[in-house]
């Protein structure tokens, strides 16, 4: 199994995604002899997972069931253990397109954080590209490196434990794209430029605060970057549901009487509410986690 290539069967050592129900998933490290507790009962890896096809329905000990899914960066983003605030798929998708990521690209990223974006980048640049990711927190850097290995992508990534604002990305003149998600991105702009290919490339920085965005835009302009644009993307999820709209009772409809009914006024039948399939929105639209430039 790898996060950048599909396989059909679940194997010992895989990381699989267990789907429990609407907006309820968890990741599982598949291991011979191991067990995983869920609210529907126990999943026994040896009999229930290993050798089964990804996408299968698995019945748990209490009789309830779950689905086991092949890992993807998107499923990982919603099930990974958070060590920092992470980027979600909506922003990741926009960043991927704006940085023009594709197979073969060399990308520099800082900070690695919990690796949410990192996995998405690796998926997009595989099999011939590379990701240089920098994380100044030692344990997070180590944990990220461990996870990349477990997920079968360590050949595509180099993790460096250093401060990008002081020491840069550790490479120069090789990057097609650079991504910054750090508290003071303006301090890393010159390092971004140094890491990028001489013939040009794309830079993107993600910040929650407008003041950070302003300072970073200035720094980019000073370093000679062009076509600086700033975007915010918000996701709106629509809840599909059936609603029932009752109909009003205006009394017997006298104009509709025919000769046959002349004997007695028709009884008004209570009319059943109209079922309408529609969508509703959450009361508040989830605010942005940041602004991208």
């Amino acid at each position: 199994m790898s996060f950048v290539e599909y396989s059909d069967l679940i194997r010992d050592g895989d990381v699989a995604i267990v789907y429990l129900g609407h907006e309820s998933m968890m990741h599982v490290k598949v291991k011979q002899g191991a067990q995983t507790q869920t609210r529907y009962g126990v999943i026994r890896h040896s009999s229930d997972l290993i050798g089964r096809r990804y996408g299968s329905k698995v019945t748990c000990s209490k009789g309830g069931w779950v689905y086991v899914l092949h890992p993807t960066p998107e499923l990982w983003t919603v099930t990974l253990p958070h060590r920092t605030q992470i980027l979600y798929t909506t922003d990741i998708a926009t960043i991927t397109m704006m940085l023009e990521l594709k197979p073969g690209c060399v990308v520099c990223e800082s900070g690695t954080g919990s690796g949410s974006l990192s996995h998405a980048i690796l998926r997009s640049v595989a099999p011939t590209g590379h990701l240089h990711t920098v994380e100044f927190h030692q344990q997070r850097a180590e944990k990220a490196a461990e996870e990349f290995k477990e997920h079968g992508v360590d050949g595509l990534v180099t993790v460096r434990n250093q401060d990008v604002c002081k020491d840069g990305f550790g490479v120069s003149g090789v990057a097609d794209a650079v991504f910054l998600d750090i508290p003071s991105p303006w301090e890393a702009v010159r390092h971004a430029k140094a890491a990028m290919k001489r013939q040009g490339g794309r830079v993107c920085s993600f910040s929650p605060c407008i003041e950070q965005v302003q300072r970073t835009c200035e720094a980019l302009a000073e370093e000679g970057f062009e076509e600086i644009s700033t975007l915010e993307v918000l996701l709106r999820v629509h809840d599909v549901r059936t609603v029932y709209l009752p109909l009003p009772d205006f009394g017997a409809d006298l104009s509709a009487q025919t000769d046959d009914d002349a004997a007695a006024p028709t009884e008004t039948k209570p009319q059943t509410p109209v079922a309408l399939k529609t969508t509703t929105l959450p009361r508040e639209m989830q605010g942005h986690t940041g602004i991208r430039l």
Binding site: L20, R39, L235, V240, K277
Partner: protein, 434 residues
């Protein structure tokens, strides 16, 4: 120094390259053909001088219609005025502040003044310029630049640039698929090198090209097409290397049912050639042209049949890795039909300009089973102007970018009785993830 030239080669514009011309927010996709005039933003010019320059370079269009590389940033910002005002309380907007007439400006153009010089003249002859605030002066100069600068930037095509171009120029051709929505589709469908992706689109080939770009020439893409033939004009604009087209297949949807039923016959017809020969034996001797045409037709049909067979072979296994749909057709039957070709635990994404057809798809999928993580969503996109003391939102695009229904396939179950709620699990006390 000789090394540099070699290193830069992949980044240099070549003849026959497909490129994108850009000025400000206007884009146009063209091909570099020597001595061929192109029109862009009401100007005619030749692209010959661009050959050999680096992608991303900006050029002046000089009178005569040739391109001249623009030196980076020298003589920039005409009229960095020493003086500026504080507000506009005394500025009359009476249209009389500019002393130069249109004739004067035409004369300047004929005399061969550069755009920088013309703008400088305008600034010098504006009675109100000095009184404007620094910000208003900047805005004035920016406006004049937009009008008088004859520049064009030449870019290497990419999904990002082409999506911006189509959305700005011809949104109707791409079913109003906004570029951020396209970005979501590509990521949600986990498009990556080495997979087998099914595409059904009527977006002039923009979606197909974007999928191909993200696959980098690895794996395979099968375009399912309605009607007589696949529409792919947009794919050309991406300028993919020739070998990318080896990964592209096509399959007409009119044969989908036959393929699913196992009754699609792609074997060559047994006696077709023999039949033709006996019928036209007498004519052949007298009409070598006709014979040649018949032979060509036979070759074309055989070629078509082979393509059909190879696409069918890829589809038959029902093990595709992803499905993306974006078209003017009602998405429900398209989705329900094509889902059958996907392996379990694989993503699919359907785009529709309208929400209601996707509600139908959602409902059908819930009844039928075979898919989880169903989500109907749209994205709001906001652009910001970021300048010192002038940062503010510029544009909010909402609702007009279309809607997406995404999900993941799972192993098919026996169809559930209507009204069964088990799919959601016991209701309360559910842990929310994400």
């Amino acid at each position: 120094m000789a090394d540099n030239v070699d290193e830069d080669a992949p980044y240099r514009i070549k003849e026959e390259d497909y490129v994108v011309l850009k000025r400000g927010d206007i884009f146009k996709a063209v091909q570099i053909v020597p001595k061929k005039k192109v029109i862009f933003e009401k100007q005619w010019f030749f692209l010959d001088n661009a050959v050999g320059q680096l992608y991303g370079s900006t050029f002046d269009i000089v009178p005569g219609g040739t391109l001249q590389p623009r030196k980076p940033k020298d003589a920039e910002s005409p009229a960095d005025a020493k003086e500026a005002g504080t507000d506009n309380r005394n500025i009359q907007d009476d249209g009389k502040s500019q002393k130069l007439t249109r004739d004067d400006i035409e004369n300047f153009k004929e005399q061969g003044l550069t755009d920088q010089q013309i703008i400088q003249q305008l600034v010098d002859n504006s009675s109100t310029f000095i009184g404007k605030t620094k910000y208003a002066q900047d805005k004035y100069i920016k406006k004049k630049k937009k009008k008088y600068e004859n520049i064009v930037t030449i870019l290497k095509p990419s999904c990002r640039i082409l999506a911006l171009m189509y959305h700005g120029r011809e949104p109707g051709k791409i079913c109003h698929l906004r570029y951020d929505t396209l970005a979501q589709m590509l990521t949600l469908a986990n498009i990556h090198a080495g997979s087998k992706v099914l595409v059904f689109e009527t977006c002039a080939g923009l979606l197909l090209g974007s999928v191909m770009e993200r696959m980098g020439g690895y794996g395979s893409v099968i375009q399912m097409y309605p009607g007589g033939g696949p529409v792919r004009a947009g794919v050309e604009s991406f300028g993919f290397p020739a070998h990318f087209h080896d990964t592209l297949h096509e399959f007409p949807v009119c044969h989908v049912n036959a393929l699913l039923a196992g009754t699609l016959d792609t074997a060559p017809p047994k006696d077709a050639s023999a039949g033709r020969d006996t019928n036209s034996a007498a004519d052949d001797v007298c009409d070598p042209e006709k014979e040649a045409r018949e032979k060509q037709r036979g070759q074309r049909l055989s070629f078509k049949r082979k393509k059909l067979a190879s696409a069918a072979a890829l589809l038959e296994g029902r093990n595709a890795d992803g499905l993306v749909i974006a078209s003017r057709f009602h998405p429900c039957p398209v989705l329900m039909g094509m889902l059958k070709f996907l392996a379990p635990s694989r993503p699919f994404v359907v785009y529709s300009q309208y929400k209601e057809p996707l509600i139908e798809c959602y409902t059908k999928l819930k009844e039928q089973g075979g898919a989880v993580n169903l989500r109907l969503a749209d994205t709001w996109l906001r652009h910001y102007q970021v300048l010192p003391n002038r940062t503010h939102p510029v544009l909010l695009m909402s609702g007009g970018g279309g809607f997406l229904l995404s999900g993941t396939t799972v192993a098919a179950d026996a169809p559930k009785p209507a009204g069964a709620q088990r799919a959601e699990g016991p209701a309360p006390k559910r842990l929310k993830v994400a």
